[in-house]
Symmetry: C2
Subunit: 203 residues, 2 copies
């Protein structure tokens, strides 16, 4: 049989997985992460309590499942919005601002998600994070590549490390914002300063 052929078993698993993710997303958004019990998710998804944990090893891991698709999309939208801008700094800032405004819709949830990103339990979820990271860094690298073509970035600058470093700076400040060490204006200022520094270099 071709790999595309799927039996009733896999079909059911996919449907159930979809219902669980949808239920979790709705409840997390509506009640908050902590206030949502795994039993509520199970009820809303029409499955037994224990079934949740065959799709995500922990309740925390559900966050990865819930956000993966949306975040993949946000990266795309951020890239699309960033291409238009002028200098690379501005492009990169537009890219990250797109992500931040997505997180702004629900800061506590974003906080919980960020916490979880560095602590994934299941292998499936780990693969999802890898995929997401690849996408996010890939789009960044494209911005850098275009800037290189424009002569705005040195030809010698390696793409992936550049993208990684830009993201590392964003991620660090995002943590500060979500943890309450920074308010939004501070975040914006720090981000611009530090990204600019990376682009210009310390040397």
């Amino acid at each position: 049989m071709a790999a595309a052929a799927i039996g009733r078993r896999e079909q059911n698993k996919l449907e159930k997985r979809g219902r669980i993710i949808a239920a979790a997303r709705a409840l997390f958004t509506h009640k908050g992460f902590d206030a949502t019990t795994s039993q509520e998710i199970a009820d809303a998804a029409g499955v037994a309590g224990g079934t949740i944990f065959t799709y995500a090893k922990t309740k925390d891991d559900l966050l990865i499942l819930v956000f993966h698709d949306e975040m993949m999309d946000v990266a795309e939208r951020g890239y699309a919005a960033a291409r238009g801008s002028g200098a690379l700094v501005d492009q990169v800032i537009v890219y990250f601002e797109t992500m931040v405004s997505y997180h702004q819709r629900d800061l506590p949830l974003a906080h919980a998600l960020m916490r979880q990103l560095g602590y994934v339990g299941g292998d499936d979820q780990r693969a999802l994070v890898r995929e997401l990271m690849t996408r996010v860094l890939g789009r960044l690298a494209q911005l850098v590549e275009a800037a290189k073509a424009r002569g705005e970035v040195a030809a010698a600058s390696p793409l992936l490390p550049s993208a990684r470093s830009l993201f590392a700076i964003y991620y660090f400040h995002l943590g500060g914002l979500l943890s309450g060490y920074l308010d939004r204006p501070q975040f914006d200022r720090n981000l611009r300063t530090d990204l600019g520094l990376l682009l210009r270099g310390l040397g």
Copy 2:
């Protein structure tokens, strides 16, 4: 009364706090974080179960208390070790390597700690994280400052943003190492590449 005068009440609280932290450290190190119950910590510290949670809002927050002092010290030792080396890149790498080898002693615990750093519950713990961050960035800034005096770094480079960015890059890769996305050689390579990139600049 002078602020230095402390009554029996505060004296007792300090002692109890010390016992709790010591007990938690011993148990975390010996049994691991997850395998240690809050009751065990309480027993070892000679207090009732509920008392733990007047000193740390959550079990997770205990990690901050346990590691604060040691990490402050590691930053000092890293700085002392780094001053000797030659170029700024190498100094910074020595600084971070000192921290990494400290974490290597107990990777799962370091992982738990890192997770917790971005999710502090109590205000006291938050202040401790602030203090630690200030120390870590401050020592880094000193290295940059000295390099600036040597003419190795542009006079225009602002110290704090530079230190922040260097740390952000380290922190990002540390997360990759602790989460198992990177092995040690990859970590070392990435760190050197990206720190060098920041120092040279993309432009």
